[in-house]
């Protein structure tokens, strides 16, 4: 029943005794917010009733399925002077490490997803959802190829009257740098280290599509299903991807500086080079 607090600096993440993220607290900016995180997948449409299947071009989800975390049995906390880490096994093919650094005021989440299982004959598009209490009233903001953040309004286009046929796919946007939402007191931002899909399907929630594996061609020109495999010595498996996203909650109008400066640091990571030397001759 105990809660678990991680973070050696100003930022603390609070987990429930079941290993679920529950709170985000920044003692410097006085931000205290409820946060939840989960994984789910959208089943790829197989094109059986009409001919348009989900594929590389076409996102046409056929149901949303939760991937339940394996809970406290697969939850390990590591603490140290520079950073704290939470290791979680979400399922047999999804792992996650959440890091909170002493000198940083954002949380870093490293996800390992794959090989996406397809023995059930269903293609899957795997997403993570982060839920807060931010009252964004259908509005969220996504970057435009790393440039300006553009306002998006769920189920609405300012240039034409939108007929909503695909309530999820119709609100998805490409994310290259990040996305955020805000209400009258706070901003909730996520930055990514790679191009992904993203949206806000319900108020207070941001989601990222991290990986996908589909079994049908969408007949839009690729000519094969988006079913990437990796073969090592004739041992072929679906692709496993490893990536990071970074989340932060700021008081209103204080998030832009972090999104711009840290976004640049994600894009231009420090370059490491190694050399071996004997004894103390390194000087």
């Amino acid at each position: 029943n105990d809660t678990v607090e991680i973070g050696p600096g100003n930022l603390k993440l609070i987990y429930s005794g079941k290993g679920e993220l529950t709170q985000y607290i920044n003692s410097r900016s006085l931000v205290k917010a409820s946060v939840e995180q989960s994984y789910s997948y959208y089943a790829g449409y197989n094109g059986s009733k009409d001919k348009q299947a989900s594929g590389a071009y076409i996102f046409r989800p056929n149901g949303t399925y939760s991937i339940n975390s394996e809970g406290q049995d697969f939850f390990t906390v590591l603490r140290g002077p520079l950073l704290d880490e939470v290791h979680q096994r979400i399922s047999s093919w999804i792992y996650q490490i959440t890091r909170v650094y002493k000198g940083k005021e954002h949380a870093e989440v490293e996800f390992t997803v794959g090989p996406i299982p397809i023995k059930d004959g269903i293609g899957k598009e795997v997403v993570t959802k982060i839920t807060t209490t931010v009252k964004n009233n259908k509005k969220f903001y996504t970057d435009s190829s790393g440039r300006d953040f553009i306002e998006r309004v769920r189920d609405y286009r300012k240039d034409w009257e939108l007929q909503v046929n695909q309530p999820i796919a119709g609100n998805y946007y490409p994310i290259n740098l990040g996305l955020y939402m805000q209400d009258n007191s706070s901003e909730f931002s996520i930055l990514v280290d790679r191009s992904v899909g993203g949206s806000s399907i319900v108020d207070g929630q941001l989601e990222l599509m991290l990986h996908r594996r589909l079994l049908f061609d969408d007949s839009r020109g690729v000519g094969e299903a988006l079913n990437e495999t990796v073969c090592v010595l004739e041992d072929c498996r679906g692709l496993t991807i490893v990536g990071k996203y970074f989340l932060r909650i700021d008081p209103l109008r204080e998030g832009a500086k972090w999104r711009r400066s840290y976004g640049q640091e994600i894009y231009s990571p420090l370059l490491l080079a190694f050399a071996e030397q004997d004894g103390d001759s390194w000087a």
């Binding site: 590591l78 140290g80 520079l82 050399a275």
Partner: protein
């Protein structure tokens, strides 16, 4: 002379809309990846020579022919870094040069896989700085083992057990040097014994 022509070619080809959006056939995606890897490996040599030159320039007051051979770790995403996975118990030191390509000062936590747990990190002035050891995630080791089958000739014999973390401080558009060597005291081990709250079944 080393150059970056293959990297330029690979980057030019990867501007195709299928490469950008991920709508190519798999064999084409494999070709993009291969060309980028060739370009990266080529650029690694150029960067290694440049770093040797600027590092010597800083210590000797002039850029002579580079004497230090610098290597990078292109497969750190699968926890594979042969240059850092060296046995430091025999008196050798691992020199890490870190370059900041942005125009502002940065402080960041660096993480590299190591096989020794008795290690210390010193800055360029020889002063020991705070470091931390973290265990490798089991999943990472599994992925590394899978891919290392393809790189058997490169694979080191010992799988690293830890990430060594330390804070690097970098000037704008500049570099800093850190030295990792064996130590009588163990780097702080992320208090993994005292705060592993649950006996994880994953470890089985």
């Amino acid at each position: 002379r080393t150059n970056t022509d293959s990297l330029a070619d690979a980057l030019a080809i990867a501007q195709h809309h299928d490469a950008v959006s991920g709508t190519s056939k798999q064999h084409v995606a494999n070709d993009y990846a291969k060309r980028l890897a060739i370009g990266y490996a080529e650029a690694e040599e150029v960067v290694g020579e440049s770093l040797s030159c600027i590092a010597e320039s800083a210590s000797n007051g002039g850029c002579m022919s580079p004497t230090n051979k610098f290597q990078q770790c292109l497969l750190l995403n699968i926890s594979y870094c042969p240059p850092s996975e060296v046995d430091l118990s025999n008196g050798k030191s691992l020199v890490v040069v870190i370059y900041n390509s942005l125009g502002w000062k940065r402080e960041d936590v660096i993480r590299i896989p190591v096989i020794n747990e008795n290690v210390a990190v010193k800055d360029a002035g020889g002063k020991e700085i705070e470091s931390q050891l973290l265990p490798l995630l089991k999943a990472s080791v599994g992925i590394r083992d899978y891919y290392s089958k393809a790189y058997l000739s490169m694979a080191s014999n010992v799988t690293p057990k830890y990430w060594l973390a330390f804070t690097a401080s970098l000037p704008p558009l500049g570099f800093n040097t850190y030295i990792i060597s064996s130590s009588s005291s163990t780097a702080k081990r992320a208090a993994s014994t005292s705060s592993q709250l649950y006996d994880t079944k994953a470890s089985q």
